[in-house]
């Protein structure tokens, strides 16, 4: 697999995503500068966490206008896999590639902690190796992670399996306490209708080694590898 990690000015989890793909998974990875308009061929594009352009306006609101985002949109439209983590998730919602929006955390504070998320849809390229309702231990670190969609839209998302991860306790119950930011319906991650664009607030790239506290995030990346191994060809970005 060859992954492209997009670097916006202010991205700061680019290194972690790159490290995970190269050193933990043993796959190829490149950094892609935000000014790039034709990044080349990749199997997966990762929009990493951070504070793109400082996020002084709404998180992700400026980054969506970066030159590279047009290429990301056409890559996604052609069925390419796009993974947005934290700030990457925020950028994807701002860009309209994912439904909903991410508000300031309900308690108004930045929150860094371990969370447990339950796999709600394991029929996606990102979750194929996970068991249905498997609980993953993956940390969050964000100030604007409160996911919101209007109620009527939420029903549609649920129906189409677009709610991919929910915050739960370690036993898999979506309690209020387990929700680190006040997200509607404890939603931690969603995908687009086609299922090839995924955004989530927790950081699976920070849960790739036991010595860091958890390796549960690997199931997402291994699912991607597995899916690609099943015959998907590289697409032009």
């Amino acid at each position: 697999m060859k992954a492209g990690v997009i670097v916006f000015p202010g991205s700061n989890c680019d290194l972690d995503a790159y490290h995970l793909v190269r050193d933990i998974l043993g796959q190829e990875a490149d950094y892609i500068w935000h000014g790039e308009t034709s990044p080349g061929e990749y199997d997966l594009l990762i929009l990493p966490g951070g504070f793109s352009y400082g996020d002084y306006l709404r998180s992700g609101a400026i980054a969506r206008f970066s030159p590279v985002m047009e290429a990301v949109a056409s890559f996604a439209a052609a069925g390419g896999m796009v993974l947005g983590i934290c700030n990457g998730f925020q950028i994807l919602t701002e860009a309209g590639l994912l439904p909903g929006a991410l508000y300031r955390n309900r308690h108004l504070q930045f929150r860094c902690r371990q969370t447990y998320i339950r796999v709600e849809n394991n029929r996606l390229p990102f979750t194929g190796l996970a068991r249905k309702e498997q609980v993953l231990k993956i940390p969050v670190a964000h100030g604007d992670g409160c996911y919101y969609v209007p109620e009527d839209e939420l029903a549609g998302l649920e129906e189409r399996g677009q709610v991919v991860f929910r915050y739960t306790d370690s036993g898999g119950s979506p309690t209020k306490k387990a929700n680190p930011n006040g997200s509607v319906s404890n939603i931690a991650g969603v995908c687009n209708e086609q299922g090839n664009v995924l955004g989530l607030m927790p950081h699976p790239e920070r849960a790739g080694e036991d010595l860091l506290g958890s390796s549960d995030g690997l199931v997402i990346f291994k699912s991607i590898l597995d899916y690609l191994g099943a015959g998907e060809v590289s697409r032009r970005g």
């Binding site: 000015p9 202010g10 991205s11 700061n12 989890c13 290194l15 972690d16 490290h19 995970l20 966490g49 951070g50 504070f51 352009y53 400082g54 996020d55 002084y56 308690h107 504070q109 930045f110 929150r111 860094c112 902690r113 940390p139 670190a141 100030g143 950081h203 790239e205 920070r206 790739g208 080694e209 010595l211 860091l212 506290g213």
Partner: protein
């Protein structure tokens, strides 16, 4: 026109005559402004320089000692670690969010200026009592400011400490530390070397913020201090991040002959210090400086403390490549001028020569003050305090609960969960342990990091307090298995013009120096913050020690929490404790008095060596330093962290409150698999370190028995709730 403009600018008549003497003429107003900021206490260290020379600063690992932007030590395989701590107290007292945020931004620049990639932040905070709404406001905004900057630049905040004492009410302490990693050969100094080299300024545009910030930092706070809010700079972490990436790229590619960040005293400091260090001169054109607003005057440009700016000394042949890097990172930049050889700093403004000063005079000519020393009146009095004058403790359960619920002792999780401590995926041990541990991917090792200091101890005995601070910081490193390789210190004191404050300062430095010598740990950099007084009332003398340790085999790292039921709990080290100056006295009896336990630095050294060898031979399951609250609090913390109880027996004899809550240095609790207890006891004997087997890990309660009676018998779940509640409630 004022008669004596230098007085307005904070200089004395004597200092002004000295300036005229060094110059051979009267300075103009622009030049006088430059002297004023550079000869301020903050920049010139005039009250501390003589004392600071006492610190041992050399060692086999030291690549760069004090005097540069940060100290640098060798960590093996061609890699080095740069680190430094700095205060941002006064700005945080009047504008807590920006004060704290720019404190973090400033220390960050100090690290990447040396060529090191920043990998961790730490901080040490002091506030008044949490019952005060103003204190809760300062506390919340300082924490938000630290997180606001650190989280945005993507460097984990991995450790810290927070104390609450009435003396810090109007003058909180905000000390920030940054640690970076670099290839040793990439070490870049803040020197303007090489005649004809170009002087570049890059980063944020220069505005009118932070003008005379260093002068503000060099005076006591009072009712009018609120009006100094314009002296506080405003941080832009996004710009800080871009500047960091661009600077590291420049250094990595070997394009920078010298690098200096612009902090206190802004451009004035950067120009004069880089020239003075190199023994060269600099010529600049101030009209080239990218400005934030029109109509700024020469002296404003020269003393502005606008954040996120850097000065680079660049060989002309690299000019194009350097400009490309600035453009790629979207940074405003300008070539201000060039390096000369005559030792003079010259500046043009609107075509006129406005500055013509010897760099060495501005940056190094300030007089050294020799203050009188006087033992404060309170000192002898408080030492005489006798414990039997207190009512005896009857309910030890309640006392322990009270201590765990004391804001200083209680869990700071509600603070550190607001900091991103896991970004960079290298945090092996985050906040909440004895020391943080981060792995260094580049050489396969790990760094242990901590900050420690207890102002109350230093108030009661500044000499012993200084020893304690160094001993505790290094002991915390040793508790993870790491070998201490260097320290940086932030010395927070009152007004040094007062003989009592100078005495506290001198005693503290003596104590710290003695501890560093015996423990073999060099001081490679630091910062002094004087004038921490409000309306004439000084804070406790508060030395804060930031320590760095090296863990050759990260997989051996040890934590403080109990791990397995059935393990034995051993107390290693000194048997001497005192309730004098303890958290127990303050918290349960509202008394700050008494004599501190006399330290035995030779025992401290043996204890730390023993600990490290036990850990590296994998003979212990956990190790935890005993500090505020003594044995009982330390045990409670081991239990809470491991979600395991323990059943222990204390030896008969000395007072029960002493045994449970007495404090003293050189004491560590370890838990050991029962089959290994004999071996650990033998090794301790061989190392001449006292050891006591107190009992076993297990159950759901902390039970401590003495002479057939349970002094403490509480469920861990209850302790846990009390321990976590207080700060979380204050932070809502």
């Amino acid at each position: 026109m004022v008669d004596k403009p230098w007085i307005e600018l904070g200089l004395t008549d004597g200092e002004y005559s000295l300036i005229v003497g060094q110059l051979g003429r009267e300075p103009n107003l622009v030049e006088l402004n430059m002297y004023s900021v550079m000869w301020s206490e903050h920049c010139s260290y005039k009250h501390s320089r003589a004392e600071l020379r006492k610190f041992p600063t050399e060692g086999p690992r030291v690549l760069q000692g004090p005097g540069e932007n940060a100290g640098v030590v060798d960590i093996g395989e061609g890699w080095a670690c740069a680190f430094k701590i700095e205060s941002h107290n006064h700005p945080s007292a009047v504008e807590p969010y920006q004060g704290a945020a720019t404190g973090v931004g400033g220390i960050l620049r100090d690290i990447f200026t040396m060529g090191a990639r920043p990998v961790a932040f730490l901080n040490s905070l002091r506030f008044g009592e949490l019952s005060d709404p103003r204190v809760r406001y300062l506390f919340d905004r300082v924490v938000a400011g630290i997180g606001g900057y650190g989280n945005c630049v993507g460097i984990p905040t991995v450790a810290g400490e927070v104390y609450f004492e009435p003396c810090y009410r109007g003058n909180p302490l905000v000390n920030a530390m940054c640690v970076g990693v670099m290839r040793s050969e990439n070490l870049v100094l803040g020197k303007a070397s090489g005649e004809g080299n170009l002087v570049f300024l890059a980063g944020a545009r220069t505005g009118k913020d932070g003008i005379h910030g260093v002068t503000f930092a060099s005076e006591e706070l009072n009712a009018a201090s609120e009006e100094k809010r314009p002296s506080v700079q405003v941080g832009d972490p996004f710009m800080g991040k871009l500047l960091m990436e661009a600077t590291l790229e420049l250094i990595e590619k070997g394009l920078a002959a010298g690098v200096q960040d612009l902090g206190g005293a802004g451009l004035t400091c950067a120009l004069t210090e880089t020239a003075a260090r190199a023994g060269t001169g600099i010529e600049v054109d101030l009209d080239q400086v990218p400005l934030r607003e029109e109509g700024m005057l020469a002296h404003e440009i020269l003393v502005s403390e606008s954040q996120e700016r850097m000065l680079y000394i660049i060989e002309p042949r690299h000019r194009e490549e350097v400009e490309k890097i600035f453009i790629r990172w979207g940074l405003p930049y300008a070539n201000l001028g060039r390096v000369t050889t005559d030792g003079m700093v010259r500046a043009l403004f609107r075509g006129e020569k406005v500055v013509n000063l010897p760099a060495a005079s501005v940056a190094g000519g300030a007089p050294e003050c020799e203050p009188g020393l006087a033992e404060p009146a309170y000192y002898g009095e408080l030492k005489k305090f006798k414990l039997p004058e207190l009512p005896g403790e009857t309910n030890y359960n309640r006392a322990l609960q009270k201590l765990l619920g004391d804001s200083t002792v209680a869990s700071k999780e509600a603070v550190w969960r607001r900091y991103d401590y896991s970004v960079r995926t290298s945090t092996l041990q985050g906040p909440g342990g004895d020391a943080a541990v981060i792995r260094i991917r580049e050489n396969g090792k790990a760094l242990a990091l901590t900050v420690d200091g207890n102002g109350r101890h230093s108030y009661l005995d500044p000499y012993i307090g200084g020893i304690y601070a160094v001993a505790e910081a290094t002991r915390n490193l040793s508790c993870t298995g790491a070998e201490p390789v260097g320290i940086t210190d932030c010395l927070n004191f009152g007004n040094p013009e007062k003989a009592e404050i100078s005495w506290q300062f001198q005693q503290t430095v003596e104590g710290m120096s003695e501890a560093c010598r015996v423990l073999g740990v060099p001081v490679v950099g630091g910062n002094v913050s004087f004038y921490n007084e409000v309306e004439g009332e000084a804070i406790y003398p508060t030395p804060v020690v930031g320590a760095v340790g090296l863990l050759a085999e990260p997989e051996n790292m040890t934590r403080s929490a109990f791990k397995s039921a059935g393990d034995h709990v051993l107390l290693l080290g000194s048997k001497l404790v005192s309730l004098g100056g303890s958290q127990y006295l303050k918290c349960c009896h509202n008394v700050v008095a008494g004599a501190l336990t006399r330290p035995d630095l030779e025992l401290e050294k043996r204890l730390q060596e023993l600990l490290r060898s036990l850990i590296n031979e994998r003979l212990v399951h956990s190790a935890h330093d005993l500090s505020e609250g003594g044995l009982a609090v330390a045990l409670a913390e081991c239990c809470i962290g491991g979600e395991l109880g323990c059943v222990l027996t204390l030896p008969a004899g000395s007072g029960r409150a002493d045994n449970l809550f007495g404090e003293g240095p050189s004491r560590v609790i370890v838990s050991v698999h029962y089959e290994l207890v004999g071996r650990v006891v033998r090794l301790a004997g061989k190392a001449k370190v006292p050891v006591m087997d107190l009992g076993e890990v297990g159950g759901e309660k902390l039970k401590i028995m003495s002479e057939g009676e349970y002094l403490v018998d509480i469920k861990i779940a209850d302790l846990d709730r009390i321990y976590r509640e207080v700060i979380a409630c204050a932070m809502k």
